[in-house]
């Protein structure tokens, strides 16, 4: 057990390291001079050269890389050229907003999608199942930008119930409603679908037939035998989706102007703040891998049949 967990942690570190190398290479290939945005247009050649030297950009790539790696190992993600602050500080400021919206969304999704999936699965072929799965297909086919804009159209323009943008944390939850819906609707559909098919798979197993043969009622079979086993693949998908959500909320944050990691990335890219772009790539990859790792480990504890991860 411990060995397989250690192996997983090792793999995760490799993944994050590869992403960091990729980020480094990408930023070095990027066109444009990073000092251009830091200095006023009137800056002289000498000032520019001095800044380049100060940032270490005149060194050979290998020295730059070693410095960068040394910094990373010591928790230093670099220095943002746009804010003139350490990247880690800015990420720490931006992270709570992203976490807040995605975690609320993740919890709500859990409470909606699993019951929908389970009910759909056990009533396979019924009207309820058909209606729910029809809705799921519709939700899965809607583009996220379109959903955001439709939410704005309905709740802001037509009904005038919600504020259109902004973020004030949990203090003003009305600002969170639309981002949470936009973040969760697709995931909800995917998890519900997975829940349904996994329930159907489990109900076809021999031990379910056996349980019926022993005279257990339908609901006893569902709750005692089918539910737990059917949830295992669902948790895997759910974990993957939460991980992706934490890392990939660029567009939703942009539309609803939430000061999270996504908006930070867009502004860093627009301002050619390469250290910031580099560190947001690394941080998102690390978050994604970490959540995945936690889910994988959790699954091994829940499902004793999985020995080797």
């Amino acid at each position: 057990m411990l060995r397989s967990i250690l192996k997983r942690v090792g793999y995760m570190l490799i993944v994050v390291w590869v992403v960091s190398v990729m980020a480094f290479v990408l930023m070095r290939c990027a066109p444009g001079d990073p000092t251009a945005t830091m200095l006023p247009d009137t800056a002289t050649e000498e000032q520019r050269a001095a800044l380049t030297a100060e940032l270490g950009l005149d060194q050979p790539y290998i020295i730059q890389y070693l410095r960068y790696m040394k910094g990373l190992l010591m928790g230093d993600l670099g220095h943002s050229t746009q804010y003139n602050q350490p990247c880690a500080t800015i990420i720490a400021q931006r992270l709570p907003a992203t976490l807040c919206v995605s975690l609320i969304s993740a919890v709500i999704v859990l409470f909606i999608s699993i019951p929908v999936g389970v009910i759909s699965g056990v009533t396979r072929g019924s009207m309820t199942d058909f209606a729910m799965m029809f809705l799921v297909v519709i939700l899965q086919s809607m583009a996220v930008v379109w959903v955001c804009v439709l939410l704005l159209l309905v709740f802001v323009v037509k009904l005038d119930w919600l504020p259109s943008m902004g973020y004030y944390g949990l203090a003003k939850p009305q600002y969170l409603i639309m981002p949470v819906i936009a973040m969760g609707y697709r995931m909800c559909a995917q998890v519900a679908r997975m829940g349904r098919s996994s329930m159907i798979d489990v109900l076809n197993e021999d031990y379910i037939t056996c349980a019926y043969a022993r005279g257990l009622s339908k609901w006893e079979v569902y709750s005692k035998y089918a539910l737990k086993n059917s949830l295992i693949p669902v948790i895997t998908i759910y974990g993957l989706q939460v991980a992706a959500m934490l890392a990939g909320a660029v567009i939703i944050e942009q539309i609803f102007t939430i000061p999270g990691i996504g908006t930070m990335l867009v502004s860093a890219v627009n301002n050619r703040d390469y250290p910031m772009v580099q560190s947001s790539l690394i941080v998102t990859a690390a978050m994604f891998s970490l959540v995945n790792l936690v889910v994988d480990i959790a699954i091994t504890f829940i499902d004793p049949r999985i020995k080797e991860v």
Binding site: Y11, S141, A143, V145, W146, G262, V266, S289
Partner: protein, 284 residues
């Protein structure tokens, strides 16, 4: 006999028929986009800005789905949008399919260190979210079709690689593979002429689903004007352009959104339908 069973399954699967129909219509529109568009999609009509669709009171004849904020015909732009989306989807999906399948088969068949390396590579691709990668590459290196394809392939190849690898692992020790080897076949021959035909079912299903996902990603990137290059219409950039006129001209965003939904739904139905048809034992 085989064909007959297949045909019966095809006719019985409503999802497949529905998906096939939608996808064929979409392909038709995409291929004949230039002929089908009633107006020039990029032509400005300053006197006809934000016209409502024809059946509305304020509608203007000749502009069936209305016009956008610069007076361009929405129907024509929607039709051209189908072409842009399909072009990106087709190229990205097949490049991802090719790369993912080759690497997946190698990983599954060879195993060992190659398998470990390729599987870690899939994890790396998964760890960088598509939108993050898209924003970084497209904004810094420029919005060209090549960069867009790079983003898409990096984001989607691993789905195919994982599917191919798992399938290959389950059949690589079967008798026909051993027989080939005993007859002196090279690894490459076994991988691509013996094993590949046996993993196509899952890959076909995966391909259909990938189309839908690529269309969605493309629309999101285009919304940020980082996808299909302006002024070419794409459903994503149509939504972005209409967003500012949401209150007075909601059709400018509703129309491209519906087009997007129908396209993605078509591919999703087709994928599920193909699964019913090709692999009826599996429920998902």
């Amino acid at each position: 006999m085989q064909g007959k069973i297949m045909l019966r399954r095809i006719l019985r699967s409503k999802q497949f028929m529905m998906g096939l129909l939608l996808v064929l219509v979409l392909c038709f529109i995409a291929v004949f986009a230039d002929q089908l568009a009633p107006h020039d999609p990029n032509e400005y009509h300053p006197d006809a800005r934000l016209q409502a669709p024809e059946w509305f009171e304020r509608g203007r004849e000749g502009y069936i789905l209305g016009t956008d904020s610069t007076g361009r015909d929405i129907l024509s732009r929607m039709i051209i949008g189908a072409k842009s989306s399909m072009k990106v989807a087709l190229l990205s999906t097949f490049l991802s399919l090719a790369l993912g399948t080759v690497l997946g088969i190698i990983a599954g068949f060879r195993g060992g260190i190659l398998d470990i390396i390729i599987m870690r590579a899939t994890e790396v691709s998964m760890a960088v979210p598509t939108m993050t990668l898209g924003v970084v590459i497209m904004a810094i290196f420029g919005t060209s079709i090549v960069n867009l394809l790079i983003v898409m392939v990096i984001s989607f190849w691993m789905n195919f690689a994982r599917v191919a690898r798992n399938e290959v692992m389950s059949i690589r020790n079967r008798e026909f593979v051993q027989a080939s080897r005993a007859l002196g076949a090279t690894s490459a021959h076994i991988m691509f002429t013996q094993i590949l035909p046996n993993v196509t079912t899952s890959l076909i299903i995966c391909t259909s689903n990938c189309f839908g996902s690529v269309i969605l990603v493309e629309s999101t990137l285009s919304y940020l004007y980082l996808g299909v290059q302006l002024p070419t219409a794409s459903w994503g950039n149509m939504i972005a352009a209409g967003k500012d006129f949401l209150a007075i001209a909601p059709w400018t965003v509703i129309v491209p959104g519906i087009a997007l939904m129908i396209a993605v739904m078509g591919f999703n139905f087709l994928g599920d339908g193909l699964r019913d048809v090709l692999d009826p034992k599996q429920t998902r």
